[in-house]
Symmetry: C2
Subunit: 391 residues, 2 copies
Amino acid sequence: MISVQQALDIIDRFPNRFSSVEVKLQDALNLVLFEDVFSPINMPPFRQSAMDGYAIQYSEAEKFTVIEESKAGDSTNYTLKPTEAVRIFTGALVPDHADTVIMQEHVEREDQFIQIQKMPSKFANIRKTGEQIKTGELALKKGTKLNEAAIGFLACLGVTTVSVYKTPSVAILVTGNELQQPGTDLEIGKIYESNSVMLKAALQKSGIKDIKIIAVKDDYDATKICVKKALQANDILLVSGGISVGDYDFVKEALLENDVEELFYKINQKPGKPLWFGKKENTYVFALPGNPASALTCFYIYTLPLLRKMCGFKNNHLQKVIAKSKSVIKNPSQKTLFLKAYLESEFVEILQGQSSAMLYTYAMSNVLICVDSETAEVNIGDEVTCIKLDV
Amino acid sequence: MISVQQALDIIDRFPNRFSSVEVKLQDALNLVLFEDVFSPINMPPFRQSAMDGYAIQYSEAEKFTVIEESKAGDSTNYTLKPTEAVRIFTGALVPDHADTVIMQEHVEREDQFIQIQKMPSKFANIRKTGEQIKTGELALKKGTKLNEAAIGFLACLGVTTVSVYKTPSVAILVTGNELQQPGTDLEIGKIYESNSVMLKAALQKSGIKDIKIIAVKDDYDATKICVKKALQANDILLVSGGISVGDYDFVKEALLENDVEELFYKINQKPGKPLWFGKKENTYVFALPGNPASALTCFYIYTLPLLRKMCGFKNNHLQKVIAKSKSVIKNPSQKTLFLKAYLESEFVEILQGQSSAMLYTYAMSNVLICVDSETAEVNIGDEVTCIKLDV
């Protein structure tokens, strides 16, 4: 049995290599750039008017003749004499002969003439070519998470595809003769299978799209075959159930028989003690406890950081905050405890129903309180570490 | 021209009605329950063993005969005599005749006999029928946001569909002759259209799936027809561009001509002054400024809260935090300023490049600093309100 920190350190050695994939820009939300992106164009691509107004050659003159009009999108590069002006709109091409745009609010127009009321400084109200970025300059660094603004920025540079960290494909293998699919009346001795839909939702929330669910009975040969198939086609295999000490837990044998190297088994924690972690080539395997709340805790603490690291995230662990406990917590077991709790401003309260079979409490929680194995007691007002669940 | 608060107050009066939709549980992640959900079953549905061990009738006896075995999923309800035991596993049906489960670690087994080393208290290690929830009891309240734990909880109760707030359908109407679709070399006077892909990404991040993009030239009749179609089929219409003061901005007229009621136009803010908000029946219209950064700011401050409210969220505005400014901010204009900035622990710094045409700065920001119209100057160390962008 190892400590929580030892388990985290082992997982933190992986992955051994990262994969990239080329995706369309519009499909790249929340993905992380695998390579630097350089601008294919100047932005703005030409001298743009920053205002609705009149483009002129800067001078002491007070009256100009309006000879043409340049709307956004127009391509004509009008020739201007010193006291001629071009009516111009925001975003429109500023003629090469013009060096200044006067805001429309600062002129008085009469027919084709404008009378200047307030001359701006020379070069005013013109966005220079490449002012935002020049052709070949670094647009976004590798490692940047593509949010909506980053996507908009690359789109305005004409970028249509990007190389990003490949999000891992995940198989969820669900074991247990007691599990029945929802949609029919429960048979005696059975319960509805819920871990796969729960884990799938947790994976989706983390941006994973390629998720397969495989159900298998408590049978060694069937488990072995399913594990083999899942290992071939996925970056991560989550096994739900079948890893505790009962005589009918085949999972560990099935994994070892498939040449999955055991990296650890059992952590000095509650819940989630029988977590098993292993690796075969570039596929990582977490055998999670069958109890739903234990499975979810192990997912948050151990699986999610590896997943997020594979996706290219730098802050790959769930965020921690310190809060004052509103509850007394006893920890005579010398295990690390993860307790479902509710954080409100700087106070955190343990919720009723910490049993590892109970998901209701989890649904009402927004943090896990982490009490380390050396802390025997937490009193009201003591500071505790909270792991935030709302990713 | 109205203040930011007045604009927010007007939007906050809507929507006038909420819509619900029935979805499959596995598709309900991050959606909000429109109705209370009651449990269709007892959970656990039968008396379950909480341990791997032996089920017995509690007594003073020290030796029991193991007569049968009850695995998880087995349905046989074995009959037990006072000194008989059933080998039992976690989650398995506890026979009606048994009232206590002894942990396997607390017995010594020899062939079909077990010798008790530590007798637990009566009724120990048995999860009672309905201990987590009983048939007909409230499982989750309306208004609950369905996270992965809530989905797992409902799945274990056999719930397969849920009634949730319908996420609005959104059309994005993009106007501007200067806009060119990416994928070809830029023509003179044109820029790549980026607002639609940016807004689409922002909508997707907020859980909106039904998003249509409509491009239209700067032409009054074409704009009018596109607006009409978009109003018929969507809950929200976002118009990008065409709402400032230029002679070729047709959008306002096209909206009014389609009987969209104007609820406000122009806000005393920078950027995003020419924001227009209106309503036709149950469709809401935001005409956003064409400059990408202005459009995104208006989206975050005004559109997103309405969207999130329609989705059933209680905290529908982006989260605000107070931080200490690392920058001097001058605000002689008496407008509310929204400045792209980077927050790190309790300090926030304004980023270079606040021009409303620049998205790069936005891509690097994690907050907007909000400086209200009455604040003429912010000095280093002053507390400022930051609006968090990472939803």
